[in-house]
């Protein structure tokens, strides 16, 4: 297709600024981090010294790194599954809970589910500090106290802490995906649903055989988003966990270790190597997910 004369200049004029901003603030820092990963930069000198693959060999035998990676594996399995299941369930009820319509008050619920998405992560951190507070002053433990149950150390029990944090992540994410799926479901033609209903299709069957297949593209995108979110978790872990990543490293995640290695240990080179590892991990995940979940696209 040939563009009319002069329009290229027009297009470039529009694109130049965002591209420059993107290059300076996203691409360049990435390249810089890749370069730093091969140095022993301590963050304060003007000239980083090249150290080859030292940082990466050290990384492979760093138990903290592997603990963090292990937590990402858990997050990667649980966060998308839990969020998608809950979000799909809610979206289905809101849109098709009563045949082609949602349950009563569905517009209201949709807005309510979206609330957590509007809050800044720091606010959520503070909020859940109060919810999870380990003594009777906490919201959850206060309720438990009413029925005579001893306070539970939501964030202080090493085998419970990570799950408490995952619950917050899921709570925060569900609203967005409810809205995303609701939009997707609204696109499904009414005739298809009505036809299925006339054929005597029940709710569950409707969901698994009509809604889900027609929604597959959206689900796939959601899966990738959530997978990438599973490689983060920094802000919540930093604000909520004991000793930032504790107790006993039971909640630590890679971004937190990167931050600690850079700003507490002053090992910016090593931290960059961790960052590169994180980059490779999330990229591999995204590519794999898109490959594995690829299906015939259903035209409608």
């Amino acid at each position: 297709m040939k563009m009319p004369r002069g329009s290229a200049r027009f297009v470039i004029g529009f694109l130049a600024l965002p591209v420059i901003i993107y290059v300076v603030f996203v691409i360049a820092p990435y390249l810089q981090a890749f370069y730093l990963a091969f140095t022993d930069w301590r963050g304060v000198s003007a000239s980083p010294r090249f150290s080859g693959f030292d940082n990466f060999t050290k990384l492979l035998s760093d138990p903290t790194f592997w603990t963090a990676v292990g937590h990402h594996v858990v997050l990667l399995l649980v966060l998308p599954l839990a969020t998608l299941a809950i979000a799909l369930f809610f979206a289905f009820l809101l849109n098709m809970g009563a045949g082609t319509k949602g349950v009563r008050g569905s517009k209201f619920y949709q807005a309510v589910f979206f609330f957590p998405q509007v809050l800044a992560v720091a606010v959520i951190g503070v909020l859940f500090q109060a919810v999870y507070r380990p003594d009777q002053g906490g919201v959850l433990n206060g309720l438990l106290d009413l029925v005579g149950v001893e306070p539970i150390g939501w964030l202080t029990k090493p085998n419970l802490a990570l799950w408490s944090l995952i619950a917050v992540l899921v709570w925060q994410a569900v609203g967005f995906y409810v809205v995303l799926f609701a939009a997707g479901m609204a696109n499904i033609p009414k005739e298809v649903i009505e036809a299925a209903e006339i054929d005597g299709c029940g709710r569950a069957r409707m969901f698994f055989q009509i809604t889900l297949p027609l929604l597959w593209d959206t689900v796939q995108v959601a899966w990738v988003y959530l997978g990438i979110a599973a490689f983060d978790g920094f802000a919540l872990v930093a604000t909520l966990s004991v000793d930032r990543g504790g107790p006993d490293q039971s909640t630590t995640v890679l971004p937190l270790e990167i931050w600690r290695t850079a700003f507490t240990y002053s090992k910016f080179g090593y931290a960059s190597a961790m960052g590169v590892a994180l980059f490779v991990l999330s990229l591999t995940f995204a590519v794999l997910t898109l490959r594995v979940t690829r299906r015939e696209r259903i035209e409608f």
Partner: protein
Amino acid sequence: MSAALPQNPSRRSVLKGIGMAALAAGPLSACAFGSSDQPSTGGSTGEKSNTNPFGVVANAPLEIVIFKGGLGDAYATDVHEPLYKKAFPQAEIKHVPTQQIAQTLQPRFAGGNVPDMISNAGSDMMDNGALQSEGQLLDLSPLFAAPAIGGTGTVRDTLLPGVVEAGLIGDKPYLLKYIYTVYGLWYDSALFKAKGWEPAKDFAEFDALLGKIKAAGLQPYAYAGKNASYYQYWMIAISAAQIGGNQVLIDMDNLKEGVWTSDPVRKAAEAWASIGKKYLDPANEGLTHTEVQTAQNQGKIGFYPSGSWLENEQKEQTPAAFQYALAPTPSVTSSDKLPFGAVRAAAGESYIVPSKAKNSAGGLEYLRIMLSKDGARGFTEKTGNITVVKGAADGLKLSPGAQSSNDALNKAGDNIITYNLFEDWYKEFETELRSKTNALMFGRITADQFCKDVQAKADAVKADSSITKQNRTS
């Protein structure tokens, strides 16, 4: 850049363009590492004289960065900066208060645009060892050799013993440790008097006393596991020094083989672990220092381990009847090297002058003003903390907590337990120690395991060639 693109860009040529731009941004972005490699001499200086020993240029602007934490920053804005202004009326002072020293200043150090004086403190302080090894810190020897303001002799002569040494990195003083801090167990003396409780002299008494406090419905002992577990490892270190003498702490700093598994440390860990097991509420592991300290102010907690800044930090929350007092840590064995009453007291809170500061002479002069009688007195008045300047607080009416620390210091006499420098020197080790301290105190590992794990980390740090090793002899 857009001019370099062809008129009708194909997908490929646009991608190529972006790639070129990325490459071009490489050298461009290198400015994040700073542009000059040569260490600058620290700005221009004026004429030196007895009253202006560093040759401060009278109209040179001065930038002061203050960690605004427990001490606030009024001591700088209301005391030291006006004093500087009085000496150099033409100088413009830029005052920068922050709680995030590292986040604020790290990029500036990397970029070569540094302030003239920094109070490097708080949980996000910059690593002094790293700064020094990169040549970013100014040697403060001239400061201590300069004539003292309003006195006779040098600045060094006006300081308490050990102050200059506390700021050594390698063999030169790069840090001014300004505050004299006393560490121990803090309690409400008014409450204790009303209940008839007396601070304990040894761990057997301590155990019995905590039992009595528990029976009265209080949490007998508490510390904040969420963000201040180091308060607790201080107590373990102090007890270890009581048992085995200061050499134990010096060995810790030197990463000496087997020091953490040695008898004094193991016994100290055992003693504190048993207190943790019997008297520590598991909820404390998930609470912050503010939450626990406020609970103590509300009369819910018996003893809390901390340093003498605590009273000032809690000023807003403390009810009028609450009287902070300091108890020395109880003796562990009958054969302890140091008698009961020994306390840890140390010059703390680092003040530094960056070597590449534009007005480093002004930075030094600012520190000299801080160390003058007026500067130190004003600091004590504003913060309730005693400085390293000899007798500067004499005659001041001290608050109950400060008075109690002063009394404890006087009673301790020569039995002063030394500080630990590994906290500054080996952050990776320190992080592990915090984590293991929580595990020990909340009963997830035994004292033996604690000693073994911590020693293993010390050995690992010692073996790591990328970490610069420090050494102290006293």
